[in-house]
């Protein structure tokens, strides 16, 4: 393994700016690692190595630009984000050869900051799944144990980080899709506050829940990426127009956890939680207390309704969001349709996988006349109650902590036949999307039974990313390094 790819983003960036490593060397190191690991991991879809090398060479010619926080850094983008000139499939056959002529805002901002896109990351089709097994192209394997899933839906992004193929990846999180794979792959994954990062160019799943965030090997790396992608975008009406703090500078302002109160919701630490996850997370909480944090019990009594509420809202929105994939203007069009209705039905039946079709059908059902009030309206009401629940909890604490997922990564195929059990994997992550607040998964240990990474989830009030990242940074530095790239 090249020593370069063991560096964190922050380290490689320093070397690049100092001229000790060229952009071409950084890109080559990643491409070599991809060549070596990708046959096993299958984390990536479209690869853009040639263009990446070309761009890196041009950048090297001009010399390092210290004003660019990601100058020369190779990155991978989840395939749900539109990348100009690079095939963007969203993990679906229906967009098999789709090449956007525009960049997602978050992608454009990364480029503007000097990042070099080397590939697109595999994902569950349309971000619907918790394991990446719903990708229409390939199942990504967990670099920590190839027989296990990397989590999902940003499983390609998590695996590419854990395999040392790049220094940062963008993921998206609608119900836990950044935090779950971060937890399973042993990397840092941040879901920002809803509205913190522009969704423009992200192929929508659940528009009121979707948020883009970084997946990296360290907290500081995530802070660096978030600094770049956060902020108001006039092309996204739901992006919030408020000042973006400098998250990196903020990290230096805190060296311990004194004065911080961490809430521990009883609903997250009880039934259904595997013993190894519980133990690793409890150890991390103990460490936080040693570092000066105070812990208090809090109540999130609406947690039991989270999954039902989430699936009504997300599927309702998805059923409408996915209507544009109709075979008329772009994407897969059935070759044997005789009339219009036939064209729609066949194109969509052929183009969408089972899980996507399941969610479209459920979403269509909950919005239909006579059911709308009973499902969608009720779910929207519960969503408001959940927000009250969280706001109340945050009156007595600065952050809330719990496990990111009830278990560590499980074997490929274990839950594919049981969608309900699969949906339960999101139990700890889903509430935050419904209330729009930020959360992250931090690797805090290795499960004693499965020998797989365990992620601790930290949650903060809306736009409280600074405190959350500060605490995670302090905790990370006092724990062993769990996020070194894996030997494959």
């Amino acid at each position: 393994m090249s020593s370069l790819i063991e560096k964190s983003l922050t380290e490689i960036h320093s070397l690049l700016i100092a001229g000790e490593v060229t952009a071409v060397e950084a890109v080559k190191a990643c491409l070599d690692q991809i060549e070596k690991t990708e046959p096993e991991i299958k984390a990536l879809l479209a690869k853009d190595g040639e263009n990446a090398l070309k761009l890196a060479a041009e950048m090297d010619k001009l010399g390092p630009d210290a004003s660019k926080p990601l100058w020369g850094v190779p990155v991978v983008i989840k395939d749900v984000l539109a990348t100009k000139g690079i095939t963007t499939t969203c993990g679906s056959k229906i967009l098999e050869n789709f090449v956007p002529f525009y960049d997602a805002t978050s992608v454009a901002k990364l480029k503007e900051a000097g990042a070099i896109i080397i590939a697109k990351a595999n994902m569950d089709e349309f971000a619907m799944g918790s394991t990446t097994e719903n990708s229409a192209y390939q199942t990504t394997c967990n670099p920590h144990d190839l027989s296990r899933v990397p989590g999902g839906s940003s499983g390609g992004s998590g695996a590419t980080i854990a395999a040392g193929q790049c220094f940062a990846a963008l993921g998206t999180d609608t119900g836990g899709s950044i935090r779950l794979p971060a937890s399973f792959c042993g990397c840092v994954g941040v879901k920002p506050t809803y509205g913190r990062v522009s969704r423009y160019g992200m192929i929508a799943y659940g528009s009121s829940l979707d948020q883009i965030g970084p997946m990296t090997r360290t907290v500081e790396d995530s802070a660096r990426v978030l600094n770049v992608i956060a902020g108001h975008d006039k092309r996204d009406s739901t992006s919030v127009d408020c000042e973006v703090p400098n998250y990196i500078e903020a990290l230096a302002e805190r060296t311990d956890l004194s004065g911080l109160t961490i809430g521990l919701p009883e609903e997250y630490w009880g039934e259904g939680l595997s013993e190894e996850v519980s133990e690793a997370c409890k150890n991390a909480i103990k460490k936080a207390e040693e570092l000066g944090a105070k812990t208090v019990p809090v109540k999130l009594s609406m947690t039991e309704y989270a999954i039902a509420t989430y699936y009504i809202i997300a599927m309702a929105e998805a059923s409408s969001n996915l209507s544009r994939f109709d075979g008329i203007r772009y994407g897969h069009r059935s070759k044997d349709a005789d009339e219009l209705i036939d064209l729609y039905t066949k194109s969509r039946t052929e183009g969408f996988g089972d899980e996507v079709q399941r969610r479209i059908i459920i979403g269509t059902y909950v919005l239909s006349a006579g059911y709308y009030d009973a499902y969608y309206c009720k779910a929207a009401q519960i969503r408001r109650l959940m927000r009250n629940d969280f706001e109340k909890a945050f009156e007595s604490c600065d952050l809330i902590a719990g496990p990111a997922c009830p278990t560590t990564a499980f074997p490929v195929g274990e839950l594919t036949a049981d969608p309900l059990q699969m949906y339960l994997m999101d139990i700890f992550t889903i509430s935050l999307n419904l209330v729009g607040m930020p959360g992250m998964s931090l690797p805090v240990g290795i499960g004693k039974d499965t020998n797989m990474p365990v992620g601790l989830q930290l949650m903060a009030p809306a736009f409280g990313e600074t405190t959350m990242l500060q605490a995670a940074n302090v905790l990370e530095k006092s724990l062993p390094d769990f996020s070194k790239p894996q030997q494959i």
């Binding site: 539109a82 996915l322 109709d326 239909s368």
Partner: protein
């Protein structure tokens, strides 16, 4: 026999005259090559998001203010879901619960079938904002269908009335009034044929005295006020026939066929459709600040109803004339511009209502392109009024000077058309006419006094219409007495 009452409610879609589309920066210009005014947003590419053009909200609110609506401080965009090739996202962004304007009304005046002037208040249920769809084009020659997305995302307001109208006259008066207000506000060009002003007619019948409504049909595809009239008459008769035959009216959408003057059922698309409306998560609720509303209110132009009252009071013209002159903003503007040059309101009004409108309607160009400027009109009216030319000459030359935009004074002078009031030359003409028509002179003397107009006509012929009719008439009567 049972007498039936007609119940009509109208839905009007008005295309707003914004420069750019409702949710993206594409031009709204009409007549471009197919798919020229299209970007990733209005073509529904993956991942794109809508951003509201604030002009649309302003225009919608202005229409609401002009129709006495309550402007909701908070309104919500919703998705109306259905599949059609001209709808790229698979849903139309519209408003459902909480539209921008509600609970308004409009006062209309019209003449009923017997010509009696009537007045009525029609309720405006709501006005909401939405995006237009594109156009499907089917080519028989190529055996293929095409989609043009230029119109996709052009802003519309839908104005929904209460079912307050009881006959075609009321319906047309309401539509004309709405259109007039849109033109006064300068937010829609009101063109029925090109589809910038579209109306759907909801229509049902019920026995007089019955309180609940009958089953309604919705008529679409009506592209002129005359056809609104015809379509309503046809549909009322159809529904009454069905009921009298003991059959049931089906709630459905029917298309008007202008060639046949009939309506027929439109199967498929719109019927039995569940649009699954829900709030659009991509657009935050629209909140209208008090100061914006105050600003728009202050900037409201004079509307037709106010202008009509002013015309009656300031110009002392009849209510009918005022009604006619103010119905269209550009006509009213023209009228006032003529008065600026020659302040004879009644006489100018007569010319505008008569020859001017006749020529304008025939010329098929709008008033804005009309070459006959208000000062020219003023000169003409003044020349007739002051006997420089006869009324007849004025009418005779009108087509030519109107079409070419000629100065009437110069035209009359060049052609030597001034009225002849010179008694010696007129006397010669009168004498000639009397000498040429001895039988008629005999008859006149025998008591057929009506023949004076015959002699007048002959003298006019003799003088090429330039004789001063007052002088000639007196002269004839003197000579024959």
């Amino acid at each position: 026999m049972v007498q039936f009452e007609t119940v009509i409610g109208l839905e009007v879609h008005a295309q707003l005259k914004t420069n750019t589309k409702i949710f993206c920066g594409c031009s709204t210009q009409f007549g471009k090559e197919p798919n020229e005014n299209v970007c990733e947003v209005c073509s529904g590419m993956p991942g794109v998001l809508p951003v509201l053009n604030e002009k649309v909200m302003e225009y919608a609110a202005k229409m609401g203010l002009a129709t006495n609506c309550i402007i909701n401080k908070k309104s919500i965009f919703a998705r109306k879901n259905y599949f059609y090739p001209d709808l790229p996202k698979g849903y139309q962004i519209s408003q459902f619960e909480l539209p921008i304007c509600e609970h308004g009304h409009l006062n209309i005046s019209y003449e009923d079938k017997s010509g009696e002037p009537c007045k009525k208040r029609i309720g405006v249920t709501r006005i909401h904002m939405e995006e237009d769809a594109g156009k499907n084009i089917h080519s028989v020659a190529e055996n293929a269908s095409f989609v043009d997305l230029n119109r996709t995302g052009v802003p519309l307001i839908e104005i929904v009335s209460e079912p307050d109208m009881r006959n075609a006259e009321e319906a047309v008066a309401y539509l004309k009034s709405l259109r007039s207000i849109l033109l006064y506000l300068d937010i829609c060009d009101g063109n029925l044929e090109e589809g910038s002003f579209r109306c759907d007619v909801n229509i049902s019948v019920r026995p007089f005295g019955q309180e609940e409504f009958g089953t309604r049909a919705e008529l679409k595809n009506i592209n002129s006020f005359r056809n609104v009239h015809k379509a309503i008459h046809y549909e009322v008769a159809r529904q009454i026939d069905l009921i009298e035959d003991g059959e049931k009216i089906i709630q459905e959408t029917r298309l008007y066929d202008a060639d046949k003057g009939t309506t027929h059922s439109m199967r498929g698309k719109a019927d039995a459709h569940d649009y699954r409306y829900f709030p659009d998560p991509d657009l935050v609720p629209l909140v209208i600040a008090d100061e914006w509303l105050a600003e728009w209110q202050a900037a409201q132009p004079e509307l037709p109803a106010e202008r009509k009252v002013r015309f009656e009071e300031d110009f002392k013209i009849s209510e009918d004339d005022a009604d006619f002159l103010t119905a269209e903003k550009d006509i009213a503007d023209y009228y006032e511009a003529v008065l600026d040059s020659y302040n004879e309101p009644k006489k100018v009004a007569n010319w505008i209502k008569g020859d001017f409108m006749k020529e304008l309607n025939q010329s098929e160009v709008g008033l804005s392109e009309c070459k006959f400027k208000p000062e020219m009109m003023a000169t003409l009216v003044e020349m007739v009024d002051k006997d420089v030319i006869s009324n007849k000459i004025g009418k005779d030359i009108f087509n030519e000077i109107f079409t070419a935009g000629l100065d009437p004074a110069k035209f009359v002078k060049d052609k030597g058309l001034e009225q002849n009031s010179d008694s010696s030359s007129l006397e010669a003409a009168v004498d000639k006419v009397l000498a040429d028509n001895p039988n008629e002179v005999e008859a006149y003397k025998g008591g057929k006094k009506k023949l004076v107009s015959f002699f007048m006509g002959q003298v006019m012929k003799e003088t090429k219409g330039q004789a001063n009719p007052g002088i000639v008439s007196k002269m004839i009567q003197q000579k024959l007495s």
